[in-house]
């Protein structure tokens, strides 16, 4: 997982904002067991006023992993707040990865994606719009060629 989650250090976080352009960014939050009991996400929303959109969460009694969309203008502030609470933050650049060697451009994945992140290009090859994806995993199950997987 770590190879594709670019870990943000304090120095390069600004660069990343510029690089990502003006749409929402996806971040991956990991809550260590000792801080998992507190309502970090709600508190960060209240503190920053940022509209955080939770894509995917797997939280149990021990620890938690959550994928959140963050509006660009609040990005630095949100990341800072999570960090100061001891939450591990990384940028999720590729929510799902398409293996071009395995993909045969059939399109079996297209109609199962409820956010329309997958579609055909003009030449009938497949396109994945990563910023729409919320990691539901439906396309991964639907792909007959094992060409898709979570990062």
């Amino acid at each position: 997982m770590d190879a594709t989650h670019r870990h943000l250090s304090k120095e390069n976080s600004r660069e990343n904002v510029v690089f990502r352009g003006d749409y929402d960014m996806k971040i991956f939050l990991r809550f260590a067991p000792e801080i998992n009991q507190e309502p970090h996400i709600s508190e960060v929303i209240l503190e920053t006023g940022a509209k955080l959109n939770i894509n995917k969460a797997s939280v149990d009694a021990v620890s938690g992993e959550v994928v959140v969309d963050v509006p660009d203008e609040k990005f630095n502030e949100v990341v800072k707040r999570f960090r100061s609470r001891g939450v591990e933050v990384s940028i999720l650049e590729h929510p799902v990865i398409l293996d071009e060697d395995e993909c045969i451009n059939c399109g079996a994945c297209i109609s199962v994606c409820h956010v329309k992140a997958l579609c055909f290009k003009d030449d009938w090859s497949i396109a994945l719009d990563e910023k729409r994806c919320n990691q539901c995993g439906a396309c991964i199950t639907a792909c007959p060629h094992g060409a898709l997987e979570f990062s």
Binding site: I104, C106, G107, V112, W124, A138, T141, A142, P144, H145
Partner: protein
Amino acid sequence: MVEKTVQEINQKIKDGSVHVVTAEQMTGIVEELGPEDAAREVDVVTTGTFGAMCSSGAFLNFGHSDPPIKMQRVWLNDVEAYGGIAAVDAYIGATQLSESRGMEYGGGHVIEDLVARKSVHIRAVAYGTDCYPRKNIETEITIDDLNQAIMLNPRNAYQRYNVATNSSDRTLYTYMGTLLPNYGNATYSGAGVLSPLYNDPDFETIGRGSKIFLCGAPSYIIGEGTQHEPQNDFATIMVTGDLKEMSREFLRGAAFHGYGATLYVGLGIPIPILNENIAKKTGISDADIITNVLDYSSPRRSRPTLRKVSYEELKSGTIELDGKEVRTSPLSSFFMARKVASTLKHWIEQGNFMLSQPMEKLPTDTVFGPMKQTKETPLVKDVMSRKMITIRQGKSVEDAAKLIMRGQSTHLPVTSEDDRLIGIITAWDISKAVAQGKYDKLDRTMTRRVITATLDEPIDVTARKLEKHNISALPVIDKDGKVIGMITSDDISRLIAKRNGCHPQAPLEGKQ
């Protein structure tokens, strides 16, 4: 009047003056020039398709070991191949599943691995004879170690295929891919305008012995495919080619979740434009090719047809169903179908592929009949018990617990005032509610999305529901949604045991 012969066209291929277009290009040419001029202009139309073709496989010959073995059963990467032919021949079928990896790896993947020249593990057992004393063998081979590896596909290149959708409230995993509930999507297969058999629907040029493109190698049509039904535009062909010459680009193992393995096959047929009549037929477009949308939530042989639809509409990305826009997904690759047609075009233009005159026409009148079944299929109404206890909505969890304790069943259907089924509560639900300390209202503890059976349902369908949802009993409802009985896995196993003339080892576990 334009009249050409295959020989004349082959002469043009030899001298490099042949004019080849793909079936997709031909549509525009016929539209623009009309069939007569199109026939004058174009010599060959290439077609192509690239899709899941389950009825595919290959004959392999391993050569003799020392001491020799008469392979009775043989496995390639743990996928069993049919060994009931001579000593060291076997047929590996695309849909056979791996014994260790289950649905994710099968015969289609073995064939892909062979073509990719990967090492494949062979294991075989035998009973031992005077001439073949050996009883076991294990070895590693690649395709180059085989004497022959010959693809032979009994049914390929369906002229068109049905569209699949799902009206039920649960996701289905089928050979037509993932079907989302409540018409959440529709899947289709086939190349439409590039479909080989749609471009010569009366088999004027395609027949036994026609030379074709199969998975990247020049190959041949053997004859009609199994289930060939040309009168309903479901023609198929049986084809063969040398697996050793094929390429992974045009052949892929695949696995449909919850269904199993298959093989994606790239197949293209060149159509010689001998006259304007043939030119006209190759001018077919996606709008002209119509197929049926079927509801796959029915587990029976004949599924209800919801509507007819053209490949043009399917390829637009959505179709209308029940007043709703439903998104479509092809399962076959149009991108690759184009590649097949253009590769074949290139071969012919380069003089590397000559056309062949078929030796015999494919039949135009065969029908695809159903299986003759000599034993009656028992129905739910023959097996279910009509004695059952239900509980009215509004009662408490405690009432339910008492009823369960008094009766025999661990499953209690919950009904409305007018006897309609609105939920189910089980001994397990009650224990869970008690353990969590939330057991006041029945409404909150019961399951609302109840899986049910109907009177005329074959018990095999019911058994599948029990297995799929890991439950042990289902309420049987009539067409008004009223509960009229219960059917349990015990009822079914007893019946199956009777049918097979033996006693069940152990009835299915009684949990829900």
